[in-house]
Subunit: 189 residues, 2 copies
């Protein structure tokens, strides 16, 4: 009757333990950001030993990198027809402003920037997984600058939500945010 089977049985299974650590890390990083999460928290959440983080991922930074790499969350929003991109971004950002049912790792991007190694990981992820595919769907020479601006708005909304707490978005909010994204992404004034 004690805390034996938290989520599922735990036989000696390297891969299963690895996955538990990965899932726990993903959840915690998304919730609190890289710096605020300790390997002890991750190990406890995964019901695993601290040393296994080092054993399976080399280091905390390595684990974070693997979490980032396995994160498909935003691709669904960004890829797809460029026509509805602004709308999808608007809805996603508005919903993110309200409540965060699934925890997207994107949320940790803005607040994980202490260790230079981590900053490099975040930068690369930001470029390759967000700005690059977004730029690919745009026309014009300043496509990257526009994608960058849209990403800035996206991150900023997340930051505000984190700092000030969620706020129920009205349909008007979604429309306004969508319009902002459209303006960011529009080829030229």
């Amino acid at each position: 009757m004690n805390a034996e089977a938290a989520t599922e049985a735990k036989p000696r299974d390297r891969e299963a333990t690895r996955q538990r650590l990965l899932r726990a890390a993903r959840s915690l990083f998304a919730e609190h950001g890289y710096e605020q999460v300790t390997v002890r928290m991750i190990a406890a959440a995964a019901d695993a030993n601290i040393a296994l983080v080092g054993r399976y991922f080399g280091s905390k930074a390595g684990l974070f990198g693997e979490v980032l790499a396995g994160e498909p969350t935003v691709a669904r929003v960004i890829e797809g027809d460029p026509e509805g991109l602004a709308r999808r971004l608007g809805e996603y950002a508005a919903e993110r402003m309200y409540s965060d049912p699934e925890s997207p790792i994107l949320r940790s991007l803005e607040r994980s920037a202490g260790d230079p190694e981590i900053q490099e990981l975040v930068r690369e992820r930001l470029r390759n997984a967000i700005i690059a595919p977004m730029t690919a769907g745009l026309d014009g020479p300043d496509a990257q600058a526009r994608a960058r601006l849209a990403t800035a708005v996206f991150l900023g909304i997340g930051t505000m939500r984190r700092l000030l707490g969620p706020e129920v978005p009205t349909p008007a909010d979604v429309d306004r945010i969508t319009a902002v994204f459209e303006l960011c992404l529009r080829p030229h004034t």
Copy 2:
């Protein structure tokens, strides 16, 4: 001939030392954010003893709070006629994206959020010094939501600049960013 007079003479002057610590802290916090700055760094930069931080400001958090309180930087941009607010925000954000000649403490807002006490300070500062005065210049029932969105864009641009490095803003960028702020602040669609 050794490192005696770094910037100015240093007689036993409580107030002067306090100010040196305050200035050093302001600069470092703005550059690296709260978490990344240690009291040892501050004391070294101020050419003062570590213990004085505790003595004069109570704690590192207290020092940060005093730095925040004495920061008039953004008021100049936000206050003034609401007509040109979007333009001023646009120019400031664009310039901030490019280069940061004077170091505004605002930059540390987004990345200083670990300690709950600090988060509370940042939240309060964000509300009182940015959102509230911005809301005051707007009309309509959703004025605060609009100010909040504009602030989100503002912070997001800062975050991007910090993560990806500065990028030379073209006049078109300034215009686009200004248009974004106008859209954020406009009463209704």
